[in-house]
């Protein structure tokens, strides 16, 4: 859908609303396509075209929100009526802020490269290339090649107009032989055929190195975590601590720790949608420009991300991290970036007497938000490091560890940053890191007869 048509629809919504009420209109027009494969064949191949229109009405301190997928006149009128009905039934919300006024937005880095893998045929060719590379080394491949593009636009009765065109591509591959697996992923605004090939080669190499894994005892180990592991940890930091609402409520791991050294001085984390690897929006869901926010500076807790509501409570300004109002979650950093260090992955392995190299984590979850205790498992490439070399593959392990402790024990930070898509939305830019005394609490995949 073209930008002009989108704004025409949104203007029409505000016309039909009439005068008096404050309102914000949001429209997301999106095309998504994904080719999925497993067992060396395409198992699922899908495309979808959606238009998601919604309105937030604020009248006399009351608020209501309604949405529709249809943009004809009758559907828009019906949406407005449903929003008005909710708003009328709602209670006055104390301190309800007026809608945001007009803003200027910063430019995001321009995507380089051709818009490839957009057609089913192009994605099919990418999958065939991946499968050929798998068959060549007698492996089974499973994974996806996906492409999404669209436009998000915001408009309100105070004159705010914001729009952002987005595009993202992703190749994710698991190679398997005899129960041992290897995984690799690549995500960028533009993903090309060659990226699919390279990602397949990395997954295959991991899988071939993972053959005949043996068990190691759980316990404390030095670990080298590849970037995908760090990205996975970041999404829990984002949801359980870097947002100002969790901090103000007292449930954040940063509560009582602001200004204090909580991580190793090697760790610097910011939220930065303007980093060339991120794929976010230059404004938040209230239309406020996203700012670059320093969260952890050389191990010291320095900041939080705010929406307009938490900013007012903290007597500061919004950093542009609000979700669609009303919401219970508060502001979220959706574009965390960890500053790179000076080590190559090979250096980290070479400098490790005994440790574990982890490709990525599986099913990580929060156990204790204040102490940032997470549990999860290693997956698709876990290797024992001995005397500076990868000695052998090992069976997967479960970790249960406080990330406050783990990130205090960071010994080295990688010099290559990688973008990882977040499970709950957003994405994270992170390097590999080396941590000492990381606690594995049990072995995975034990299957003993009863």
């Amino acid at each position: 859908m073209h930008k002009q048509k989108i704004f025409m629809i949104m203007e029409r919504v505000l016309q039909l609303l009439g005068r008096g009420a404050q309102a914000e209109v949001m429209l997301l027009a999106q095309e998504g396509a994904l080719t999925r494969f497993a067992g060396n064949r395409i198992t699922q191949n899908v495309a979808s075209h959606t238009v998601d229109l919604s309105i937030r009405i604020q009248e006399g301190g009351r608020i209501g929100r309604a949405g529709t997928r249809a943009v004809d006149e009758a559907s828009i009128k019906n949406m407005i009526e449903r929003a008005k009905e909710l708003s009328a039934a709602s209670r006055k919300t104390r301190g309800l802020l007026p809608l945001a006024g007009t803003r200027k937005y910063g430019a995001l880095p321009v995507a380089r490269g051709r818009d490839s893998l957009s057609t089913p045929e192009e994605r099919g060719s990418a999958v065939q290339l991946i499968l050929a590379k798998a068959r060549h080394v007698r492996l089974e491949a499973a994974g996806i090649v996906s492409k999404d593009k669209g436009i998000l636009a915001l408009m309100n009765t105070r004159g705010l107009r914001a729009q952002h065109k987005f595009m993202s591509g992703r190749v994710s591959i698991t190679m398997n032989r005899g129960g041992a697996s290897g995984w690799a992923e690549y995500s960028n605004r533009t993903v090309a055929l060659k990226d699919a090939g390279r990602t397949a080669e990395r997954a295959a190499e991991k899988c071939l190195k993972s053959q005949n894994p043996r068990s190691v005892d759980p316990g404390p180990y030095t670990v080298v975590l590849e970037p995908a592991c760090v990205g996975e940890i970041f999404q829990f930091m984002a949801w359980y601590g870097f947002g100002a609402l969790a901090f103000q409520e007292g449930t954040s791991f940063l509560t009582g720790r602001m200004g204090k050294r909580i991580f190793s001085p090697r760790v610097t984390i910011e939220d930065n949608v303007y980093h060339p690897l991120t794929q976010g929006f230059p404004f938040d869901f209230e239309g406020v420009p996203r700012e670059r926010v320093s969260l952890i500076e050389r191990g010291v807790a320095r900041g939080l991300v705010h929406d307009r509501r938490t900013a007012r409570a903290a007597h500061t300004r919004s950093t542009g991290h609000g979700l669609a109002e009303p919401n219970e979650v508060g502001p979220l950093p959706l574009n965390l970036v960890m500053q790179k260090g000076g080590s190559r992955l090979e250096d980290m392995i070479r400098d490790t007497r005994r440790g574990i190299l982890v490709t990525h984590f599986h099913y990580t979850n929060m156990m204790n938000p204040r102490e940032l205790v997470l549990t999860g498992l290693t997956r698709d490439g876990t290797y024992l490091i001995e005397r500076g070399r990868i000695a052998r593959p090992v069976r997967n392990l479960r970790f249960t560890e406080s990330m406050l402790k783990a990130f205090s024990n960071v010994e080295a930070v990688g010099r290559e940053q990688v973008y990882t898509e977040g499970f709950f939305g957003g994405g994270y830019v992170a390097p590999a890191i080396k941590i000492h005394n990381f606690q594995f609490t049990s072995q995975a995949e034990e299957e003993k007869p009863l």
């Binding site: 089913p120 996906s146 479960r398």
Partner: protein
């Protein structure tokens, strides 16, 4: 709708197309939430669109759109065929569908009180009253309460002649209180965590929950947890309440018994399964008292329906019988690959998603006695209630769960409160250690509304029936922060 369905099926009728179907869905959702004295969510969403699925020379293609027009149906069908042709390139084994009855039917889930006729103000009044009670103690820094309602009307037609119209109404409600103090935060939820109780039901589900009546107890438990000792570490007999058993069933029996996972179709994302097909009819999954039954006909279940998204009739069948693995969750595709009829577990999140195998309502059959009987019968153990966190490996063997609240049991009596209870185990060993299951009086369906699967990710809901049960010598107290 008939015009649109005919358009899709006529358009898909061309050489090489083995099968086609269209699902047109209109769905209304309402969400109400109050958080710490203010509106947390107040949304009324009207969703409509359609998806066309095509099997071309044994390969799938799918496309979907929110524009309900004949011209768009034609375009989307063309796109689905074009995509399927790409899928068919170099295909070595064609997808075949199990032979199922052609059906023309209408099915509506029973509703006593239509939730969309209950005034929004009445719903908010209940939530604000809960919120007031929860925040009466100054230690409660976060009070969250919510209700959600949906009605999905689905028109389904296939090239084989099946025509089904189905309406499913779902309701849900719940709340939590988070106490902050002593450098800690502790949460209690009612009637269960992660959004509360949900089911295929009208507003009667909300009225029957006793939401307001339990608010003060939940608040007081959250505050008491701040001063409670940590869960002890070691191996102890463990009693789990029904809502925690529900998630245990979901993760350690539901997902590994999805046949698409078993066949490797989820290998890149959710993982595979240790319940391989060679194990059927002889693998000891649990103790002899463990009976796990899948049932899409059970009243009130979140996955209860007349027909699945392949048009297969709802049914009931055993997954585990007297501790032995007996069956799987299947759709027409994987059932055919395994040489059986489909169990009707094909589900999609909405019109924009291709259906896939989903866990249905999967329940642990009741035993006998009450929770208090089990406690009386326990010399030294722990009782854990209400899920807090969950994690399980990619083959569904090694799991670790955290709960909101625990109690020590000594000499048949519930004694002191403990916080941060957690336990870890290996699926068949854990279920093999099950030695007591409470009776039908304590058995209840628990809705799990946030089950994620697939790429692109899809969320779906199902229920798990359970009563409290005991497991011997379980590893508890995994981490003390």
């Amino acid at each position: 709708m008939k015009e649109l369905m005919d358009e899709a099926l006529n358009s898909a009728s061309r050489p090489g197309v083995d099968y086609a179907d269209i699902r047109i869905i209109r769905k209304r959702d309402q969400q109400f939430a109050v958080k710490s004295g203010r509106i947390g969510s107040l949304v009324d969403d009207d969703d409509a669109g359609f998806g066309v699925r095509v099997l071309y020379r044994g390969a799938w293609g799918f496309s979907a759109s929110s524009r309900l027009k004949r011209s768009e149906v034609r375009r989307v069908t063309d796109e689905a065929v074009r995509i399927a042709k790409v899928s068919a390139r170099g295909l070595r084994a064609r997808v075949k569908l199990s032979r199922e009855a052609v059906v023309c039917d209408r099915w509506d889930s029973p509703v006593l009180q239509d939730p969309f006729t209950v005034p929004p103000g009445e719903k908010l009044n209940i939530l604000f009253e809960i919120d007031r009670l929860l925040r009466k103690d100054k230690h409660i820094k976060v009070a969250e309460s919510g209700m959600s309602f949906s009605r999905e009307e689905k028109w389904f037609a296939t090239s084989e002649g099946t025509r089904i119209v189905q309406t499913v109404t779902r309701s849900g409600a719940g709340y939590s209180a988070t106490a902050v103090g002593n450098g800690d935060c502790q949460t209690r939820s009612f009637p269960s965590s992660h959004g509360g109780q949900q089911g295929t039901s009208g507003f009667e589900l909300v009225r029957a929950l006793g939401l307001v009546e339990n608010a003060e107890r939940i608040r007081d438990e959250a505050v008491a947890l701040l001063k409670a000792p940590h869960c002890p570490s070691g191996e102890l007999d463990l009693i789990l309440d029904g809502s925690q058993i529900a998630l245990q069933i979901h993760e350690s029996c539901g997902h590994p018994s999805e046949l698409d996972r078993v066949l490797g179709m989820e290998a890149n994302y959710a993982g595979t399964s240790f319940l391989t097909v060679d194990k059927v009819n002889h693998f000891r999954y649990g103790s002899a008292m463990v009976n796990l039954v899948a049932d899409t006909t059970v009243p009130g279940g979140l996955a209860t329906c007349g027909y699945d998204d392949d048009g297969v009739r709802a049914q009931r069948w055993p997954i585990v019988e007297s501790g032995i693995l007996k069956g799987y969750h299947t759709n027409r595709e994987v059932a055919s690959a395994w040489g059986v009829r489909s169990r009707g577990c094909s589900r999609a999140q909405g019109w924009g998603f291709i259906p896939m195998v989903r866990i249905t309502n999967l329940s642990l059959m009741a035993g006998e006695g009450t929770l208090e009987d089990i406690i009386r019968d326990t010399r030294r153990g722990l009782l854990f209630q209400t899920n807090k966190s969950w994690s399980i490996d990619s083959r569904r063997l090694n799991f670790q769960f955290g709960c909101e609240i625990g109690f020590e049991i000594k000499n048949g009596r519930r004694t002191r409160l403990i916080k941060n209870p957690s336990y870890q185990g290996v699926t068949p060993l854990f279920w093999g250690s099950c030695d007591r299951i409470a009776g039908p009086q304590a058995w209840r369906l628990w809705g799990v509304g946030n089950c994620g699967k697939g790429q692109p990710g899809q969320t779906f809901g199902m229920s798990h029936g359970a009563s409290p049960a005991r497991f011997q010598k379980v590893r508890v107290g995994i981490h003390r922060a």
